[in-house]
Subunit: 131 residues, 4 copies
């Protein structure tokens, strides 16, 4: 369900948070559903409970998780919308930064659009390769 890359430069706790957001977006995890306990997930992923705890408390700060004392941690109401909006904002910002870079080095608008369509072609290719 969750695969973590410890040799990655992205902190493990962020990777975990990201994976949960992905699962929420895919409706694999829905509002009100319980998520594994800190200790449980720690043993599954062979990680330290503190690392899981950090991931969970970040998600709680972002209103994606809700913890009920002594009971467990749950997907908060409205979590999917929050996650979706934050992702859209992230994509928009990332694109803006790339466009700024491109302009900065006089890489033409058309070349940028071409790269975009190439990226989509590659993605489709990947889908076909898999099927």
């Amino acid at each position: 369900m969750i695969v973590i890359n410890t040799s990655n430069s992205i902190p493990v706790y962020e990777q975990i948070g990201f994976k949960f957001k992905e699962l929420i977006m895919k409706d694999a995890l829905r509002q009100g559903e319980k998520v594994p306990s800190v200790r449980e997930l720690a043993t599954i992923l062979t990680l330290n409970p503190n690392t899981i705890s950090k991931a969970y408390s970040e998600l709680e700060k972002e209103n994606v998780f809700e913890t009920i004392r002594g009971s467990g941690t749950y997907i908060k109401n409205g979590a999917k919308e929050i996650v979706f909006n934050s992702f859209k904002a992230k994509i928009k910002n990332d694109l803006k930064l790339v466009v700024q870079d491109a302009e900065n080095f006089h890489i033409d608008h058309n070349i940028v659009l071409e790269y975009i369509s190439e990226a989509y072609k590659e993605l489709k290719g990947d889908y076909n390769d898999r099927s």
Copy 2:
């Protein structure tokens, strides 16, 4: 000539490397020109010489700089082309990553294109504001 943001999350040595590449792209620095010595630049920017040294050696690895023993460090022949190609590759790769993210979260191709055109509009707006 070079402004560094030490409270930025981007490592200072990368920022320095980036600035040199920018100057080369703008023809402010040309093939064969000498760049300041490590110590000189360190005092100018009030940074640790180690940081400058790291930036220079990265640029050397990328065939942008060339060090001649006992003489100094110079912009290598063909540097501009190398820099331009590396920038194009970077932009292409960045766009690919963003597109992958967007697909991953079911953000439509059209929305991505819309964000791109918005980014360009904002850029033009900024230019007009300045002028």
Copy 3:
């Protein structure tokens, strides 16, 4: 009769105790009246009996409840006065703490009084909204 917010940071057993005190203040519960048994209330509120038990024993310590062996738990004589006094003491103490904080950070006496009157205005507004 009693609504508990499990996702609140206030411990559930404290919320229960508070609710009983409220009911006593409103004369919804009077001296000598019997309160539900631990198990009964636990099933009504779908909470763990331990939680109810803890709430009851706290109320007993405060001389609000009285347990008669083999018979049940009752509102103790003089409970209302005790509750009222404890509430007044709590309000007084809370105000003292806030005033200390305010002084500590050089927030003027007048600003504190202004905030108080604003709080009362908001309360009245809420009443009007409801009516």
Copy 4:
């Protein structure tokens, strides 16, 4: 400079954050000033570096601290204003909650005001006792 009460129910890392905010309010710590390093403060207070680190990163999220990689942690520009505003908001909210409580239990507006003035009298008394 900083006294921590480990037997208090308030987490140590929050107490540390609070103390720094106090020092900023008293101008004992000003914009741009460096704060002790994580390890340094940890040894001074005989606490674990992680605890200090948590306090510092909370303050950074609140725009009170600013960390410069490999250099240290500093009071951010505008920190005092941020701290002051957050304190005012806290005081206001605390007062609102107390007023709501008071109304809930039919403790009169005048009694509340009386408690406030008593609190101020006690504070002055404390000052006189000290002097």
